[in-house]
Assembly symmetry: C2
Homo-oligomer: 191 residues x 2
């Protein structure tokens, strides 16, 4: 819970009482490596805060390839917003890459929180805005940069995540083939 508290108070300030109300509906779930929190086609019943471990959030394209939207380690939130808020089939899958722990909250509990604690509304507004900024940057990067630049950017931005991933996973995030990533890595190491 400490990590969650830090994550929340990083965005809004809460009194002890507010924090107690906030934490209350969260339920700790564990996932073994390779287990799924969500599979494409299911309805996303929970949003979660990763307390321990690592997940990949990805989409399976029409050609069968898996494209990673993001990796979530401790301190990240996971879920399929569209599926969760509208209770429609998910287009995303979420799988544990390590044995993991997630603090989960249901749609109903989250909506109750919005009503009880106006600050929660603000919290998720701020978090959403940050994600918009990050996603916009990613769109621009993908349009303007070479595969090598994308790779160097990613390992510079998320060094602590990269070291927990296989090269194939990183390639699926960058949107390049793993063979080509291997060649990029070779080229870089020769400097």
């Amino acid at each position: 819970m400490e990590l969650l508290k830090k994550n929340v108070t990083n965005n809004v300030s809460l009194s002890d009482d507010e924090w107690q109300k906030f934490r209350q509906p969260f339920e700790l779930k564990t996932f073994k490596k390779k287990e799924f929190l969500l599979r494409e086609g299911e309805i996303c019943r929970f949003e979660g805060f990763v307390n321990k471990g690592c997940f990949r959030v990805y989409h399976i394209g029409s050609k069968g390839f898996e494209h990673v939207l993001y990796f979530a380690i401790e301190g990240w939130w996971i879920g399929d917003i569209d599926s969760f808020t509208n209770q429609i089939p998910a287009q995303l899958s979420i799988q544990a890459l390590e044995d993991s722990e997630v603090l989960c909250i249901s749609k109903k509990d989250k909506e109750d929180l919005y009503d009880v604690l106006p600050k929660v509304e603000r919290l998720f507004r701020i978090m959403s805005q940050k994600r918009v900024v990050a996603l916009q940057r990613r769109v621009i990067s993908k349009m303007s940069k070479s595969a090598e630049e994308l790779y160097l950017d990613y390992i510079a931005t998320y060094p602590q995540i990269v070291q927990r991933l296989t090269s194939r996973q990183v390639a699926a995030y960058l949107g390049i083939s793993h063979e080509f990533l291997s060649k990029i890595r070779k080229k870089i190491s020769k400097k």
Copy 2:
């Protein structure tokens, strides 16, 4: 103002009184074709709701190319969230592609609105979440689809926007060269 009201009540319900409080701080500004609402490096002082006209929101990459994040016609919001909320130099430029009208709100007025009307917090949370979903889709599309597919998707999704743009602008949105887009259009027209 009618269009703004429609846009807002599409996401949250407001009483007459709440609507009056909401609309109050917005100021109508006009922009002539090619005029800038924001230039890279400036601080974004206003967020705006496009009442009439058309804008391009774009970033200038290190190689000098202009990459379009989105086009905003009537009913869209424009601004550089990062620059606006943190009052830091913008990485985006926003330029009118037609003579336009924008309902603008300053950072201070917006923050006041958040405090006076909790529903505004909800409004912008919901809008931000929708943008996250749209941006995630775009990231996946750019990773998994060919230039031709991207083009067909765009004209199918935003037909009323495309017809107001030059081919070059569309290419700058798709992230492909305008020459290649020309070849794609030729190929498509031969069917």
